[in-house]
Every structure is written in structure tokens, then in C-alpha cells.
Amino acid sequence: MAALLGSSNAYSEIEVNISYLQQEIDQGPVLSNILPEPEDAGLQGAKLAIQDSNTTGRFLKHKYQLQDAISDDPQVLLDKAKAQYEEGIRYFVINADEQTVRKFTDSLGKDALIFNAGSSSNTLRRQVCQPNLFHTMPSRAMLTDALAQWLKAKRLQKIFMITGSTTDDKAYSNSFKRSAKRFGLSIVEEKNWSFDTDLRRTAQSEMPLFTQHRDYDVVFVADERGDFGEYVLYNTWLPRPVVGTQGLTPVAWHRVVEQYGAAQLQSRFQKSANRWMNSKDYSAWAAVRTVAEAVTRTQTNDATTNHGYITSDNFQLAGFKGRKLDFRSWNGQLRQTIPLVHPRSLVSSSPQEGFLHPTNELDTLGFDQKETDCTETRK
């Protein structure tokens, strides 16, 4: 090991502890339960980022450790976080729903850096304005903007919308309606899915009737937990593509992403987790890598210094998305491209060519500076 150090002896030893807290969320019974989401979605991404960071760290005498906990009870996670904060931990990666994320920002000290790596809630990006809250998971607005840009580019303008019954489904639908308005798509029909029949047997007869309409270019589905959405494909009244939570889907990450060196991240993840990397894994990976990147450059574990670095113009994260990633100053959201995928292939990546922005094309996805209430508080 002595040989490893050389003139990097100038670096002093730093130990960085990062907390990863994951809320298990019961999705309720779903029809399409053949390929469930892995229970450690998120955790494995954080673990890989720790490995990646330690490989870098050993040349600088930096050591990264993950302290992880998973529970279905938000209070357990919150108590854990408070205890960790007391012990001196200042970096928290949270994979939980909107309500739980809010509790964390309310109860941890202002010098803790909190990374939301689980919730896509638009509210968290518009109205929750703690300057120590960052989001590595894309907001629903980013996802639906990415999709709407593609629809516009493909001239698929007339949308038939189907929305599931959960609050999340409605949030996804509302987000898409905002995107449709923003990019000039027209919604020709809106329907709510509230049936409780076993579609596995009857989709072929029920779905065509449900999607009966004079004309539409595409069917949009909001079914985040995957209850009925898979049965819409190939069963629509008119033979049209399906987009949204099923069919062509906007994601933070997926196995089919392999450009820009992503193939290497995919194969490292496969080797370490023995499964495919998904959006939650990617978001947790990006959060841990953000902390490590700051420590590498600032040469300190001091959270306030690193907070300053992460929000500075110097910060850049190599996130295998073809360009450097950084955080929006107005709401702490990680700017990123959004892959549009189907289960076996990458179809496109947004922002689409031609969607321009005065400062950064990535800001055509999600809430721009003027669309959040937080601009002042975060300064």
C-alpha cells in the first residue's frame, strides 16, 4: 500500500459516514405482479457508490462507510436519523415518500445534507424550500416533460389519458397535463381506471371498449405501481402506442442505458448486486457520489464546506448521462437527461433536439426558476 500513496502523502486521512435510510412502501395488491421491484432498490446503488468512492479514496486516504437501515415505519427511520445526527453524521440519503422526506427536513439540523433519492413528488421541488434538501431522483415534472417533448417531436399530439386510482397516479397525470400544456399537446379524452376485474383474463375484451374514442395518436397511462397499465398495450381500440408509466416510459435509469460509459456502470452494478440497476439505485448512487465528489475536491468532511461546494459552479458529477450533472440553485434538483425506454431498448433521451433554454437545455425538463416558490429561501 505504501507504493499507492507516493506524493499523495500530502492528503490527510478523512473518514466519511453516509446514512442511507429506506422506507418500505406497501403498494397494495396489484394485478401485474409478475416482475416486482427489488426490495433493495436504492440500497444497492448506494453500496456501489461507496465501493466506487473507496477506490478513489484509497489514493487520497479517504474512507467512505454506509450506515443503512430499511423499515416500513417512518418513525423508526426518523429516530435512527436523529441518533446518527447526534453521533456526527451529516450526510443522509433518503429513499422514502414525500411525507417522510418532509419529516426529515423538519427534524434534522440545518447543517445536515439531505438527498431525496426516492420521491418524485413535484411538491417537494416547488414548495419545500430547505436549502439543505437536494433531489437526485427526477421529479415527475421532469419525467413527464421528457415524455411530452418526445411526443411533440414525433408529432403525436392527440392524447387519450388513463389514470389509475392512487394519489401517486393522479399526481403523475397532473404532472403530464402540465407538460402537455407546456409543449402544446392536446388531451382528447381523460378516463379513470377503477375496475376491479382480473384483467389478465379479460383485457382483450375490456380494454378496447374502455379506450373507444373517435381519434387519438397515443394512449397515456398513469399507473405508477403497475396495476393495470401493462394490459393496455396492444389492447387499445385504435392501434396506437402506449406511453407513461407503461409502454414507452421516462426514467432516471434503466438497464438499456449503455451510452457514455454507462455500460461500465451497468456491469459493475450487475457484478455487485446480481441484478439490473434501476432508477432508485441510480438516484442513491448519484447522491453518495455527490458527497464523495465534494469530499475529494474540498479535502474535508465538513458538511458546511461541502454544501458550499455542491452548490457552487465548480461542482460537476460524472453521471454516465453524456454531460456533467449539477444541482439547480432554486430547488436543489439534480439536472439530468431522461432516458425514454421500453423494457428491451432505449428509444430516445430528452431533452429533445430543438427544445431550447436561455441558460441550460436540461432546464427544459422540470420546474424552471420562475416555477418554484423557493428561489429566495435557498439563496
Binding site: G6, T55, T56, F59, R268, K324, N360
Partner: protein, 323 residues
Amino acid sequence: MNFKRTLTALAVGSLLASSALYAETAYVSNEKDDTISIIDLDTMTVTDTIDVGERPRGIILSKDNSKLYICASDSDTVQVMDLATNQIIKELPSGEDPEQFALHPNNRHLYISNEDDALVTIVDTETSEVLAQIDVGVEPEGMAVSPDGTMAVNTSETTNMVHWIDTVKHELIDNTLVDQRPRHVEFSKDSKVLWASAEIGATVSVIDTTSRKIIKKITFEIKGVHRDKVQPVGVKLSDDGRYAFVALGPANHVAVVNAKTYEVEDYILVGRRVWHMEFNQDQSLLLATNGISGDVSVIDVSKMKAIKSIKVGRYPWGVAIKP
């Protein structure tokens, strides 16, 4: 009649003479086709396409130009192609997922970066023996051995470092932190400076090889191209010490940098996602691989312009030129 025959003979003679003079051959690895395209630089056409191992990326010539070494990344091997017959005559143990490599001036020791394993493997090309494996950062990529043979360097894309390796002891001696996603490294002819490109950082660092400290960071700005699309990858230095050429990836341009003042003097428009480059022998031409457009741009160095593009296979990656 006689006159005509003499003319023909003359014409044939001069053709032979010119092909003897200029019959340089370029080899291009096609990452997504598992092939090597062979280009006659006299006619600037592809004369042959050879099947090789899976996902060929880095390619280099032996110092005597008799062999071509090919990193077949997904086959986890370095293949050796005999250039007299264009046959693969040997496979060298390379460690997993070899991506780029560099040959020591002794023409024997091959330094290979193993992208998936965070290792540099040193192989003796004659005995096929692995001499050493050295731990480096995550996703090792660029490799170079100094022309004086004393040091080897490797870049790691996710660790963002240049790792310095002692070529006698085969040990890591130092690390220099550079910008995000360092890709390629080139030594100056006198081994005194090292040029290292950073793809996502959008810079090229010029590093003093004695102090191993950065002496200059070069940035790029092309009118009409968003700065995030400026992603430096390949670097090539001209032997006369005047120029550094930097391939800027999805910016679809090659930057011409004054190697003394470090000022960017020009940007040459080439194909899409320009990756790696190589000079012909007299350095009048520079060939650049364009991954997305699937071709090779031929740059006339005196005019600083791309004069031709030659269609090759899918995702051309590396290029080597035999005089």
C-alpha cells in the same frame, strides 16, 4: 505504338512508385461490428474488413509495424494480428475488459487498462506472461508509456485521476487529481509533459511529469455548440512540437491547440462523436474516428481541414497507421 507502350509503362511505373511512396495502411477498430477496417491511404478506400474478437477498442502497432495489437474488450483478451497475412496469430492474457493500452519502447511490455476491474495489467508480448497487475482507480481508461520508457500513466474515469507507474518496479508511485472523466493521455516527445483529456470536465490538463502537477488547463469554446457537448477524448501531439489535436466527442470538432502557448487556434469540423486520432508517417494527414457517423475523417494538417470521410463499420473507435 512504341510510344504508347512507353507511356503505359511510364504510367504503371509512376503508379507503382507512388504507391510505394504513399502506400500507408490505416487500421480502424469497429466497436459494434467486431471488425477491423483496413484503409489504403493512397486511394483512401477500405480494402478489407477483418473479423476480430468482441468489442474491439484500443489498437496499436508493434514498434516494427509487423503486428497490430487489438483490445477485444468483451472477449477479455488482447489479440495479435500479423500484418503480413492479416491473421490473428496470438491472444495475450489481458485481464478483464481491456480497453486501452500502450507499448513500452522496448517493444515487449504492453500496459493494459482493465476497465471493469480497476487494474492495469502488464504483459510481456513475447512470452505472454503477466508481469504485474497494479490497482488503480475505478474504470481505468487512458494508457501511455513515456517515450524515454521510465514511466507509464493510466487515467481512471470515475476516480478522476492520472496514476503514475514506475516501469522498472511496476509499482504505482503517484496520483494526480484531474477533472471529471479523464479519457486519454499523451506524452510529449521529450517525456517532459503529459496531456490528459477530461471528457465531462471539458478540459485538457497539461501536467509536468517531474512534479506531476498540472501546469495548464485548456478549455474549449465552439460557436454554436453548447458547452456541455464539448467533451475532449483523443489527444495527438505533432512531432514538431507545434500542435496538439484534441478530439471533442459530440461537439463533432477537432481542436487545434498551439502546443507551446496552449492557445486553441482552430476547430476542424469532422463527423459525429469524434473519438481517437492518428497521424500518417510524415504527419501530413490526421485520421479521426467518428463513432456515430460510422466513418473516419481525413484531416489535411497543412490546411487544417477535413478533406475526406471514409465509411467504415459501426462505432469506429481506435485507429493505427502503418507506414
